[in-house]
């Protein structure tokens, strides 16, 4: 097998980075710089203001908006679950949130074959799980095999292993993971907590036991207790010495204890931070942001992945018309949505991908507000203004629905504003609010016009998950050139070539108005004055290793 060595020298990360950037050419550098620039203040560097040198010790109490329900990061994909799980498990690699680059963590280096079907990882020796078991090649293989066995119970993690053929343990510190088809996304997937590594003893437990906290990783914290709907307590792992190359300091975490309290009511969450009953809170609601303008830090970062958008079901008669979809895309005033319903923490969408996603391109020119253009398109397509202002063609009203689940609090207001904006050009948008899980089933049944949601993933392959016709294909797009472009990016490891395809895919999806991007979801957390060094990892989940109180 011919290998292109992406990380030939395990001793030096700098050499590796230089070699990689030099090899991938100017386009990649430009793409990475663009990602970095767009990332701006939202990057992982946007932590609280540092006061003096970090101090070890102490307890941090953090109020989460929702119960994690399941603590196993391999199984569950909610923010609450992943924010806890990230502290318990380490990953083979880490991802730099500013550049999108994959960096060493438990794997000090790796090679990928040119087809992107075989990934060889060289593991850092001497790493142990908190129960004393060694983290070696056999443990890595056991983890990937176990994720595959979990199947649908590990929704996100098993999707990262689509096409998994198996893992070969070449020696105690070398494993080769093989896929049946090119899977360029897999390298980034190894940086997520969804593929974080659990001790072999944990893998032998039932999925239910793991969910409830029978869970041992090699991470900087260990689980002390989980009381559902109440609290999760973590303690520092003493002797931890294999942190990610992206951590600000090596060795053990600073905090002795990390306590997550579950506080579902947003007003109570805000009040408990103000009154000092907790040190920090998650999910600050737009209406509460002003309360933390002074004396607090509002930690925020957009979620990478696909933005909140209207995804058209193109098999429906009205939305099957290109002109109608394009007109709707033109009639939406994105800055107005971001500015009036949300806060400056949330950006108007400028592409189907959020600006912090590797491979993102700025398509704001195509996504400009153009109500006159929208009206013209509709007129040309034969949609004439009706008596009540809603356009009509062949006796059919230009009326479409959008299904949404109220997972993000402001969603209803966002859609109501979009409804008003569309009404101005003669389009009637009906809102259909569904329970969290119903949306999924309604979509699979195809009984809807637009679906509204976002997906967090710090790899552009999420475009293939959503718009590839060989995956779930919820939009019911006919197979064609878009598939080719999406497949090309999936098998291309060179950032320049890959991101060129990713850019093409974003343009196609936007030009054909398969989706109407609206705004970028952001994580917004409130930190009290004694919290320092709390950072976001690349998928905008929290990383507490460098966090200290004082």
């Amino acid at each position: 097998m011919r290998l292109s060595r992406f990380a030939a020298d395990p001793a030096s990360a700098h050499v590796r980075r230089l070699r990689r950037v030099a090899g991938s050419g100017a386009a990649a550098t430009a793409a990475l710089a663009l990602v970095a620039a767009c990332n701006g203040a939202g990057g992982p560097s946007a932590s609280s203001v540092e006061v003096g040198p970090p101090k070890a010790g102490g307890t941090l109490t953090f109020a989460l908006a929702a119960d994690p329900t399941c603590l196993d990061p391999q199984q569950f994909g909610t923010n609450a679950s992943l924010n806890v799980g990230r502290q318990l498990v380490d990953s083979l690699t880490d991802q730099d949130g500013r550049t999108g680059e994959i960096k060493p963590w438990l794997a000090t280096s790796w090679e990928v074959n040119p087809q992107a079907t075989a990934f060889t990882f060289h593991l850092r020796p001497g790493v142990t799980f908190a129960d004393g078991a060694p983290l070696d090649g056999a443990a890595v293989k056991a983890n990937f095999d176990a994720v595959l066995a979990l199947g649908a119970k590990a929704t996100v993690a098993s999707s990262y292993l689509a096409g998994y053929r198996g893992t070969a343990v070449l020696d105690p510190t070398t494993v080769r993971v093989e896929f049946a088809a090119p899977s360029a996304q897999f390298l980034q997937a190894t940086s997520t907590m969804s593929l974080g590594l659990l001790s072999p003893a944990t893998l032998a437990k039932t999925p239910e036991q793991r969910c409830q906290g029978d869970l041992v990783g090699s991470g900087p914290f260990t689980l002390r207790s989980y009381k559902p709907n109440q609290s999760v307590e973590l303690a520092k792992r003493t002797g931890y010495g294999w942190g990610s190359s992206l951590f600000a300091h090596p060795g053990e975490a600073y905090l002795d204890r990390l306590v997550f309290k579950i506080v579902p009511e947003s007003g109570v969450r805000a009040g408990s931070l103000e009154s000092g009953q907790v040190d920090a809170i998650s999910d600050v609601q737009p209406q509460d942001e002003a309360r933390f303008a002074a004396g607090y830090t509002v930690l925020t970062r957009p979620n990478p992945g696909v933005v909140f958008m209207l995804q058209a079901n193109v098999s429906r008669p009205i939305l099957g018309e290109d002109a109608v979809r394009r007109a709707i895309a033109k009639a939406v005033d994105r800055p107005e949505v971001a500015q009036t319903v949300l806060t400056p923490k949330y950006k108007a969408a400028t592409s189907p991908l959020a600006s912090v996603t590797p491979g993102y391109v700025d398509l704001s020119a195509q996504l400009g507000y153009d109500p006159e253009g929208a009206k013209r398109l509709l007129e040309e397509a034969g949609w004439r203004a009706g008596s009540d202002g809603v356009r009509v063609k062949d006796g059919r009203r230009l009326s479409v629905d959008v299904i949404f689940a109220p997972l993000f609090n402001a969603s209803q207001s966002v859609l109501e504003l979009v409804q008003q904006q569309l009404r101005r050009v003669g389009v009637d948008l009906r809102l259909r609010k569904l329970a969290a899980g119903e949306q999924n089933q309604t979509q699979n049944a195809g009984d809807y016009d637009f679906a509204y949601y976002n997906v967090t993933r710090s790899d552009p392959d999420i475009l293939r998950t959503l718009f590839g016709t060989r995956t779930v294909n919820r939009l019911r797009i006919a197979s064609g050139d878009l598939d080719t472009v999406l497949d090309d990016q999936a098998q291309n490891l060179d950032p320049a070539q890959r991101f060129a395809k990713v850019a093409e895919a974003q343009r196609i999806v936007t030009d054909r108005a398969y989706v109407v991007p609206l705004f970028e979801l952001a994580q917004v957390h409130g930190l009290g004055p004694k919290v320092h060094g709390l950072t976001f990892e690349a998928s905008s989940r929290l990383q507490f290793h460098d966090t200290w109180v004082g």
Partner: protein, 310 residues
Amino acid sequence: MRGYLVRRLLQAVVVLWAAFTVSFVVLYLLPGDSLSIKLGGLEGTATSAQIDAVRAEYGLDDPLYLQYAHALGDALGGDLGRSAQTGAPVVRTIADALPQTLALTGCAMVLAVLGGGAVALAATFTRVRALRQVLLSLPAIGISMPGFWVGLLLVQVVSFQWGLLPAMGNEGFESLVLPAITMALPAGAMIAQVLAKSLTTALAEPYVETARAKGAGRVRIHLRHALRNASLPALTLAAVVAGNLLMESVVVETVFSRAGVGRLTAAAVDTQDLAVVQGVVLLAAGVFVVVALVVDLLYPLLDPRVGRTV
């Protein structure tokens, strides 16, 4: 008396079976199920084969009558199935949450009975007309205040502004005070209203005149004669209130970030976690049956005439 007890126990069994069956039918008729919600999350790309495998594991691919037979058989054996979200047994999930809610509703009930009783007694005892009017108007105010609002107000003022008591959690007695008061207010108001009315009626009864003629003091007449007779309707009401507290725990436990059956219910309804919802329905039915039974057994003690007719 023994025949009465047996009849009541049979009734209880029928009520529980009906609750089980109705909840099974209603919940399984709903579109959607918790497993698809959990497995087919919007980010998920689980294949239908994978999803089918998990559905089979939970027995969801069986015909409905078989699922019902299995569920009923398991329930008779004390197994209410597993939560589709967490995978934990429903019985254990509820058993873990129940003590928290019992402590909360128990405290609230004691506060409601003591507070409501005190208001009713004071209102009917006092000869100061203005005070009587004020006391009699309290229940109406108490009933009309929404629990959510009272809870948030208490949290804002007592916890956030004065810093006297914690706003959240299940730790210790302090964390119980504010939620118990929140729950006790409407419950106590109802008890006060009914008790005050029946006390007033009782005080006008001929036997009170008789007692008075025999030279009994005001306090003795009020507490010993009138209260004893007036407490029957209030006791019936207290039983209903006790059941209502279970429902109110959904709101109060959310506002005060407490673990308990209420929070469990809210979460289970949200994710259509049918096994858990059904477990809670059975629990609620069980509570109503037990409370009604206890009240019926207490009646003869308070009023010998009732005992003779059963």
